[in-house]
């Protein structure tokens, strides 16, 4: 009996222990084996992470001008459960937002405890909304991107969405750096959805976004945009773009596209307008591409600058098709072929090079490849490999057809001529800086490759200077500064792809100045200009106007360029003497006053026939300009005097002397330091002016290489 009782107790104990063990086992299963799964479930249901928004970085131009920054704004939301009178709230906001109140009220009956009413209200609107003091309506502080320049640089800068993440341009490309890292605070949520703040809960402070410092110069950008806009109006073009670049560093100083749009209201424009044409649009460059053949020929020494080429009286047959020149040329020097932009001449030069070498040089100049600019959506362009070429291809390509380039590629190629033969990687963002202004990342100029030798580059610069001086690019000429460049007028391909359109063009001008030691490369492209339609007449004047305005600026990367046109000194107070020739007295006085100069009138004629100091000379503000008035007839009869050219650049001096039909002989290069015979002596038959020049800035020695070519200039 008792042992029976003992056995039974033991059995009960054993059973109990089994139960106990299975409970422990079950807990092990839940708590340890399935721990992660339940942790996830737990987190999902009661962790409410409040996002602490990081402040998005600003964007500055190269001088620290703010192009983009944040404005504090308020967004309003409703908690439907707390709304006492949905109808009133709906009416108020409906009226305010100009929306039917029902569309607002409807949202209150949806699931959830959060309904946006309106977002990103400025201080005025906020005050109004808060004056209503409706229960259940709450404000949330947010930041809104503000673009003070409105449309300035819109395609470069881009914009953000309502949650401040980048959608276009630099805002998109550098979104990660700009947006920073949002912080978070964990707020405990109970089953009723209420947030319970607990001090010991983790909290991560937001890390504000970095700011971008661009290579863009805001004033240059504004000037480029204004002049482009004006040029487009004048030529009735569809669109256009301008790129200004520092050839030495590859920094882009301005990148303007037309049409523009207001970045503060990006939703209101066509997507097409948002495109950054300067990097996304490909076009057949036409004559501006001729530098490839020219550079290759000079570098490979298949042509010398002084070689003469027969231009077949304006037409050449290629694979049964005839390619024409605009004019009928006979024998031209290589330099004149470029100057006159002879298709026939360039085709002959290219043929002499051969397909392989031509292609290699086109590649070397960066065509058919991404430039690697820090902007989204860059196009590669089209540059077919010789294997796929037809018989026409080499000839077509030499004159800038059958290839498609982006404006940026073209400008980079010209920059490589300007800087002595090195292709630079274009830069648009110079630094990334943190909130305290420390440089986080420095994008320094980086050369891609050497394309041609400095000597070749110097010769090409001379060629291009001649284009502007006396060739197709005359409209880009400036007083006091030598400009080099090349025009391009390309027929557009028809929309259906069957050949070229007869009345649609892409006009372009790509140039740089000063030609001796270029400081700025610029490209102007007009899409479908109506009249004038040629690169020389439509695009080149825009280039000139931009350059002129830039040169008058007291600040900026090209500000010290004025030094090269006169003696060193305080340049901020210096002005360029305008050309008054042919103006009547009041207009002349007005012109001088505008520049802060004092006019002293002499003579009793109607129009200005002579002025002292000369046009293009840099003089101090407040200087007196002697203006001789006479009539047209009198001018011709009076014996001419040799103008004063000391202090002018060699190019300007030569130009002025040639106007007086004088022969010029030059020694040295740079600024004119001495002239013989002296200024003011009368011009007689057979007088040869000797100009002694000396370099005034760095880099001018390059020009000496090309000086032999200049000797030819002196021959009238």
């Amino acid at each position: 009996m008792n042992s029976n009782q003992g056995r039974r107790t033991l059995l009960v104990i054993a059973l109990g222990f089994c139960v106990w063990s299975s409970l422990v086992g079950r807990l092990f299963f839940i708590q340890i084996l399935h721990n992660r799964e339940y942790c996830r479930k737990s987190k999902v249901q009661h962790r409410c992470e409040l996002v602490l928004n990081a402040r998005r970085g600003n964007i500055y131009d190269r001088d620290g001008t703010k192009l983009v920054f944040n404005l504090p704004v308020k967004s309003y939301y409703a908690v439907p459960q707390e709304i006492e009178n949905p109808q009133r709230l709906g009416d108020m906001f409906g009226k305010f937002l100009n929306r039917p109140s029902q569309s607002i009220i409807r949202n209150f009956y949806k699931k959830g405890s959060f309904v946006w009413l309106t977002r990103k209200m400025g201080p005025v609107e906020s005050e109004l909304i808060e004056s209503w003091s409706i229960p259940g309506v709450y404000a949330l502080g947010e930041m809104e991107r503000f673009y003070p320049g409105r449309s300035m640089g819109c395609q470069i800068i881009g914009f953000t969405d309502v949650d401040n993440s980048g959608l276009e341009g630099l805002e998109l490309q550098f979104d990660e750096q700009l947006c920073g890292e949002d912080g978070w605070a964990v707020v405990q949520m109970d089953a009723c959805g209420r947030k319970i703040p607990l001090a010991e809960y983790p909290r991560e402070e937001p890390c504000d976004g970095h700011s971008l410092v661009l290579t863009i110069q805001a004033t240059y950008q504004a000037i480029a945009e204004q002049e482009l806009e004006r040029g487009i109006q004048d030529t009735r073009a569809r669109a256009g773009c301008v790129i200004l670049m520092d050839p030495v560093t590859g920094e882009i100083l301005a990148m303007a596209n037309e049409p523009r749009y207001d970045l503060n209201h990006p939703g209101r424009v066509l997507p097409e307008w948002r495109r950054n044409r300067a990097i996304t649009d490909m076009f057949e460059p036409g004559s501006t591409f001729k530098i490839v053949a020219a550079a290759a020929a000079l570098q490979e020494e298949t042509q010398k600058p002084e070689d003469i080429i027969y231009c077949e009286e304006g037409q050449i047959e290629v694979c049964g098709k005839i390619i024409h020149d605009v004019e009928e040329f006979g024998w031209l020097t290589f330099q004149r072929v470029i100057e006159k932009s002879s298709n026939v001449g360039v085709i002959k030069v290219a043929r002499k090079l051969g397909e392989k070498i031509f292609f290699d040089y086109a590649r070397a100049f960066g065509f058919g490849n991404l430039t690697g600019i820090q902007l989204p959506g860059e196009a590669k362009g089209l540059l077919a490999h010789p294997k796929t070429w037809s018989g026409m291809s080499l000839a077509s390509m030499a004159i800038g057809h059958e290839v498609a380039v982006t404006p940026l590629q073209l400008v980079c190629a010209y920059a490589s001529l300007a800087n002595g033969g090195t292709l630079m990687k274009p830069l648009i963002v110079r630094y990334i800086v943190d909130g305290r202004g420390n440089v986080v990342r420095n994008f320094s100029p980086s050369p891609v490759r050497r394309v041609i030798s400095p000597e070749t580059a110097a010769v090409l610069r001379f060629f291009l200077a001649k284009v502007v001086e006396s060739g197709t690019g005359k409209m880009a000429r400036m007083k006091g500064l030598t400009v080099a460049g090349k025009t391009g007028t390309a027929y557009k391909l028809k929309e259906n792809g069957s050949g070229f359109s007869s009345n649609k063009f892409v006009a372009s001008f790509c140039g740089f100045f000063p030609a001796e030691s270029p400081r700025l490369v610029g490209l102007v492209i007009l899409d479908e200009p109506r009249s004038p339609h040629s690169g020389g007449r439509a695009a080149a004047p825009i280039f000139r106007r931009i350059a002129e305005r830039i040169l008058y600026l007291p600040k900026g990367p090209c500000a010290d360029l004025c030094l090269m046109t006169s003696e060193p000194g305080d340049t901020s107070q210096m002005v360029v003497v305008p050309s008054l020739s042919g103006l009547d007295s009041s207009a002349a006085v007005h012109q001088l006053q505008q520049r802060g100069l004092v006019a002293e009138l002499e003579g009793d004629g109607l129009r200005v026939y002579h002025q002292q100091p000369q046009t293009g000379l840099l003089v101090a503000r407040g200087e007196t300009v002697l203006v001789h008035l006479g009539d047209q007839r009198a001018r011709g009869s009076e014996p001419s005097e040799i103008p004063h050219v000391v202090g002018l650049t060699m190019r300007e001096a030569i130009r002025q002397l040639r106007q007086k039909e004088l022969a010029v002989r030059v020694s040295g290069s740079g600024l004119v330091v001495r002239q013989t015979p002296k200024a003011g002596s009368s011009i007689g038959e057979g007088i040869v002016c000797h100009l002694e020049c000396a370099p005034s800035g760095g880099g001018q020695s390059l020009m000496a290489v090309a000086s032999s070519c200049y000797q030819g200039v002196s021959k009238p």
């Binding site: 003992g6 107790t9 033991l10 009960v12 340890i32 721990n35 799964e37 942790c39 737990s42 009723c192």
Partner: protein
């Protein structure tokens, strides 16, 4: 009583520890609920501490009362129990404020009182007395068992009708374990077991509330916002605790996600805050209580003491086991509290009284000459 007649200290310490843990856990788990319902986070804590002190006092008193006295009270206690159980079923008297519309407690002037908690203890007395009296006739079903079984069956049915299947389950298992230990023939046990199961099955399929609970246990998708939700939340609590838990007071589930966090599901919060380690420590404490309880029972001076001790130990252990099984989804939701730890006056009070009796039994182990200790079986505890 000589100097050696001291209550089992280990048992005492284990109980006090469990009650202490209970106070901490009730506070920790009830903060959010108290804040929500009564705007003061210590509402339940204050009441629980008061009841725990009252319970411990009752335990100390019971410890000093000779357990043989209970033998005389058993019959009367049983009568009162059955009366109270019937009272609960009356619609006016039964406290109907429960969220689930269940009536398990009585409003006695100023305290709510759950008779089923008392019934468990009284049943232990009653069975122990009956089994002691009918020691000789235990093999005879009609003479030895039938009267006892009838009384037990009645109270079981009354409990089940509340409906409180959890308590009914515990009581059923308690009765069977006591019968088994008392020496009832296996064949009788089997027959009764079969009948009970049949009754339980009928009950489950006839009462919609019970059916839902069982079905939702089998398929938690079935009642995702009711019992299924509760048990899912319980598992999330336990599961997110891991090995060492989220730390005392850091439970997130108690923030109104888990219903009844301080009563039936306090173990889940415990598992969440203290992790597997904490849970095993608590279970080990219960095991310790059970071991010391059975040890006391086996050392008891007489058969009544032995049966009482075993019964009370079984009661605590089974209560604990069913509660933990519920929160770990091993059995359907029952509404049973975790002894000593859960908030709940009746259960704490009667469990501690039971412990007091057990301690008293442990004290009397050497009192009788014919000690059970000398004649006990091969199992040495």
């Amino acid at each position: 009583m000589d100097g050696k007649d001291r209550p089992d200290r280990i048992l005492f310490v284990a109980i006090v520890l469990l009650v202490g843990v209970g106070i901490i856990m009730v506070y920790s788990s009830s903060v959010a609920v108290a804040q929500l319902r009564y705007q003061t986070s210590s509402f339940f804590l204050k009441r629980h501490v008061l009841r725990a002190l009252l319970g411990l006092l009752a335990m100390l008193v019971a410890m000093r009362i000779d357990y043989h006295r209970w033998q005389k009270l058993a019959g009367l206690g049983m009568l009162v129990s059955i009366f109270l159980l019937s009272l609960v079923l009356l619609p006016r008297v039964g406290w109907g404020g429960s969220a689930k519309g269940l009536s398990r407690s009585l409003n006695l002037a100023f305290v709510r009182f759950q008779p089923s908690e008392m019934v468990k203890l009284v049943l232990v007395f009653y069975i122990a007395r009956q089994m002691t009296r009918k020691e000789g006739q235990i093999g005879d079903f009609k003479e030895g068992l039938l009267p006892t079984v009838c009384v037990i069956g009645l109270s079981l049915v009354l409990i089940a009708l509340q409906p409180d299947l959890g308590t009914a389950l515990v009581v059923g298992m308690l009765v069977f374990s006591m019968f088994a230990v008392a020496g009832v023939r296996w064949i009788h046990l089997l027959k009764m077991g079969f009948l009970t199961l049949l009754g339980a099955a009928t009950m489950i399929f006839c009462v919609p509330y019970c059916r839902l609970r069982v079905l939702s246990f089998l398929d938690s998708e079935l009642d995702p916002i009711g019992a299924g939700y509760q048990i899912e939340q319980s598992l999330i609590s336990l599961g997110s605790g891991g090995i060492f838990g989220v730390g005392l007071g850091n439970s997130r589930q108690k923030l109104l996600f888990l219903p009844e966090p301080h009563t039936d599901f306090v173990f889940s919060i415990l598992g969440e805050e203290l992790g597997f380690v904490g849970v095993v420590v608590i279970l080990a404490l219960f095991l310790l209580v059970a071991w010391r309880g059975l040890r006391a029972a086996r050392g008891a001076a007489d058969r009544f003491g032995f049966l009482m001790g075993t019964g009370i130990t079984a009661m605590i252990f089974l209560n604990m086991a069913v509660n933990v099984a519920v929160v770990t989804r091993l059995c359907p939701t029952t509404g049973l509290t975790l002894p000593f730890i859960s908030y709940g006056g009746s259960s704490l009070l009667f469990n501690l009284i039971g412990m007091g009796i057990l301690l008293n039994i442990s004290r009397r182990r050497l009192a009788g000459k014919a000690s059970w200790k000398k004649r006990r079986g091969p199992c040495a505890c």
